[in-house]
């Protein structure tokens, strides 16, 4: 009896405590989110969370501007050929591979079909068709009779187009070998030319959003199957995705979430990790960076591969993206372990090694970042600081005034770097941005232009301390990294870069609002990269 009289008091106390917490929080939306976060990452309620963010940010199907056609990237073309034709090697190797430095290879505006690329497609398609037919794994008829090859061409096209063929398409494809034979080609050559034609068709080269038609009842779901597979596997949808589109079941967010989880658990998702990480972290052109020339090519190659393996681990093990900055493990090979001052592993290939030293751990202590932000003969604190603002915080600094560009280079080159950079802050026009950039970069002065640790530079002992504009100070790169890790701008920035990569364009304001809300869930340590990718995808692809 007495026990019963106490219980209500306790409940009231707990309620009062909860109300006081809620009162401190800025918005009701935040409360909901925090409650959801506390339930952990695998609560299976991704779709409700997505709907909530969409409502909060005003995101609807009509606010997304998905283009009608999206050209496959070179990587997606190559993966598609491997799946479709069992092609070996890199089918896109001879393609013009001019990486657009402005963003990602998925960039819709940048990745345009120029005549040069069209010719590369044609030549590649012809070559692949010859090899495919030579492999014998195709039309059973050794004489390549038109009756046999017609059906084989249509069947190949159905897989290549990633959806059922429309009636007109099927008729034209079935007629194609006959047309070539009529034009004077031998039966086998006509078959080869027909396959080359399929590989050059816009239905294959572009992911298209079609309207529903007779024979294609769930056009939007087929488009979704391709969206999912090309985004996270860089390849064609598998039979499971296509079957769901055929049955019309790839529609609810619950189902899509389940598919996303299945796909991200698959090894093929490592291709997403690679494509995104090398471009986000600038590792794909490391060999052409000025400071890389002083390193053995094998080291440079493995520093590049390290970035991929490191980010891949975050996806595979669903690690929280905040730890990208200070993970207590590192990927090294037989040649990069000595580079990092670590013991050579027993086997030469790239492998995970746990570390204890504060000198390494996380992307800002990796050779890739340190080398690409260096000049040929010395590290560049300005570049290192700017890189952090650009890629870690997504707060690119304003451009310098025209008459001040490079003003510093004209100064006394004998001064220690810290004193030279101090001149930035004497010029009022420069002070604003450099007060932020320079301390960030100077924190990494213990890493030379090759990314190796040094206790001293040419001028003597190194001072890696600094103060940020908000007053927080640090004594080492490791301490700065902890400040960056605590900044909500970092997970938001990672999410923004992922979204830019998957959308193929800069997110609009409503999308940015949604991306930030999703990224904020990373406050919860259990919220991993997979969770983030599932939530971002569901949130940014409103269901019509």
């Amino acid at each position: 009896m007495g026990g019963l009289s106490i219980k209500p008091d306790r409940t009231i106390l707990l309620l009062l405590l909860l109300l006081s917490i809620i009162a401190c929080l800025p918005q009701r939306r935040e409360v909901n989110r925090n409650i959801r976060d506390s339930r952990g990452a695998n609560d299976g309620d991704n779709s409700a969370a997505a709907a909530e963010v969409q409502a909060a940010c005003g995101l609807t199907a009509s606010t997304t501007q998905e283009p009608a056609l999206r050209l496959l990237t070179n990587r997606q073309y190559a993966q598609s050929m491997r799946k479709l034709l069992k092609a070996e090697g890199d089918p896109a190797q001879a393609f013009p591979s001019d990486q657009r430095a402005s963003g990602f290879d998925t960039d819709l505006a940048a990745h345009a079909l120029t005549p040069t690329l069209a010719q590369a497609y044609l030549i590649s398609g012809q070559k692949l068709a010859v090899e495919y037919v030579a492999s014998g794994a195709t039309c059973g008829d050794k004489n390549y009779a038109v009756a046999c090859t017609s059906a084989a061409v249509a069947s190949l096209a159905e897989r290549a187009y990633r959806r059922p063929l429309l009636d007109g398409e099927r008729q034209r494809l079935m007629a194609l070998p006959g047309v070539f034979v009529g034009g004077g080609l031998a039966a086998k050559d006509a078959y080869i030319a027909s396959i080359a034609a399929v590989l050059m068709a816009p239905q294959f080269l572009y992911r298209a959003r079609l309207r529903d038609q007779p024979g294609l009842e769930y056009a939007a779901q087929y488009a979704r199957a391709s969206w999912l597979s090309y985004t996270f596997w860089n390849s064609m949808p598998d039979s499971e995705l296509l079957d769901m589109a055929r049955l019309g079941t790839l529609s609810s967010n619950h189902v899509i979430a389940a598919q996303l989880k299945r796909m991200l658990a698959d090894d093929r998702a490592q291709d997403f990790a690679e494509a995104f990480a090398v471009q986000w972290l600038g590792a794909q052109n490391l060999a052409s960076m000025p400071a890389a020339a002083a390193l053995p090519p094998a080291v440079v190659a493995d520093l590049s591969a390290e970035v991929v393996a490191f980010f891949g681990e975050f996806l595979r093990s669903n690690l929280n993206i905040k730890n990208l900055l200070d993970a207590r493990f590192i990927y090294v090979s037989g040649v990069t372990a000595p580079y990092y001052g670590l013991a050579k592993p027993a086997t030469p290939q790239l492998q995970r090694v746990e570390i204890s030293s504060e000198q390494r751990g996380g992307i800002l202590t990796q050779g890739s970042y340190l080398v690409q932000t260096s000049n040929v003969d010395q590290p560049s604190p300005v570049k290192r600081g700017k890189w952090i603002l650009d890629n870690i915080l997504c707060q690119p600094p304003a451009p310098p005034p025209a008459d001040q560009v490079g003003a510093l280079q004209k100064g006394d080159t004998n001064l220690p770097i810290r004193l030279r950079l101090a001149k930035h802050r004497e010029a009022p026009a420069c002070a604003g941005c450099h007060a932020l950039m320079d301390p960030l970069g100077l924190a990494f002065e213990h890493y030379d232009q090759a990314g190796k640790w040094r206790d001293q530079d040419l001028a003597g002992s190194i001072d890696a301390s600094g103060t940020l504009p908000d007053g927080s100070s640090f004594n080492s790169a490791a301490q700065l990294i902890q400040l960056l890790k605590a900044d909500p701008a970092f997970p938001r920035c990672v999410a923004q870069r992922i979204a830019t990569f998957t959308l193929g364009r800069e997110p609009n304001d409503k999308e940015l609002c949604a991306i930030n809300l999703v990224a904020d869930r990373s406050k919860n340590e259990a919220y991993g990269l997979k969770d983030l990718l599932v939530d971002l995808s569901l949130t940014l692809q409103p269901n019509e």
């Binding site: 501007q65 998905e66 009608a68 056609l69 999206r70 001879a94 013009p96 591979s97 001019d98 990486q99 430095a101 402005s102 505006a109 940048a110 345009a112 079909l113 120029t114 040069t116 690329l117 069209a118 010719q119 044609l122 030549i123 398609g125 012809q126 429309l166 034209r172 047309v179 070539f180 034009g183 080609l185 080869i192 030319a193 080359a196 034609a197 050059m200 068709a201 816009p202 572009y206 298209a208 959003r209 079609l210 038609q213 056009a219 939007a220 052109n285 052409s288 000025p290 020339a293 000049n375 040929v376 003969d377 690119p396 451009p399 310098p400 005034p401 025209a402 560009v405 490079g406 004209k410």
Partner: protein
Amino acid sequence: MAFRSERRRFLRGMGTTLALPLLDYFLPRGRVYADDSPLRVIYLYLGNGAQWQPSSVGANFTLPSALTDLAPLVDYLTVVSGLSNRPAMARQSGDHARGCAGFLTGETAANPGPMIGRSIDLLIADQIGQKTRYSNLCLGGEPKGESESGYVADYQNHISWLGGSSPNTRELDPVAIFNRMFSGGSAEQQRSQQGQRQEGGKSVLDFVRAEASSLGAVLGQGDKSRLQEYLQSVRDLEVRLGKTGAASAGCQSLTPPISAAPYHEKIGLLYDVLYHALVCNMTNVATFIVASETSEQSYDLVGVPGSHHSISHDASEQGHGKIARIAKWHIARFSELCLRLKATSEGSGNLLDHSILVFGAGIGDGSKHDHVNLPIAVIGKGGGAIPGARHLRYDGTPLCNLHLAVASAAGVPLRKFGDSTGVLSWT
């Protein structure tokens, strides 16, 4: 002029990637050169600026140190000094971006971009490029430069622009280009193989054009301009496939490059591929950005270690000397190409008689980031339009006047381009 630029903006706004309808840009076409040999127009671009103004003007001038390797070609050499690229000037930073993107477009690069007009090389290729398999060749020596001052990085890596938001596709790998142009076998075998491939290729293109049309009818909501882009590329490809062209003597023995080498060797290999493309009549128009803007290559091999870009900021005499040594190295590679072209006979003369090669930079003094007194060296007689052996000085004249003069010599007389005020005289 005002009307034209408005129309350009309108077309860009439509997101079209088609070539501008050029009719009103052109006067009736006429050939300047005497014999039937085609004319070649090549633009080469050196990032980070340079200076090579001879001290005296006219026929008797002393070659400045950067240009001494052009001595054996002096009869074909026209040094043009004093030209300005006004559209690249602005009261804000980003001179590398604007200088490079504006070099052949005569327009101000939009910030952040990319958004800029069609470049002069492609306007010329639109007319004379139809005679060869490749309407133009677009080469680059370096994979990427950094973005600058809020501008997209593309501006610093591309001088050739399709108009709108797309730069021309640069090709960086000499092996890949060579294999695409001359895949295996002797020159004769290649031509016969290519003949067969072309027949197949054309039929393939007939099919895919029909597929593109049918696709257009069933597309859902969203931007459909990509389909236009596809059709345009297929059309251009068809033209390429239709051209074989008689090859010059130099086309008989081709040595394919073996590997994509480090930067300085690769420049030589790319010049090699360019030479082969010209003597085999694969193309008549080309651009080659030998060093991107803000390039950080080190030139240890001529005693100039360190970042090219950083060195360009050194305003001291010593700094200018280093930039001259870097320019000299590039001019030496350029002169090797020119000498090979001169040694290739064609018609009543040699290939240089029927070529215009413009080697220049979009920045004059790198330490000032300016766009005045641009360094320009023109090699070739342009089919008789260019007398050569001269140093011309045109202080303050728009660079676009030179573009008009080159286009006119190529049989593509434009009335106006960029900020042009008239056609530059070659004498």
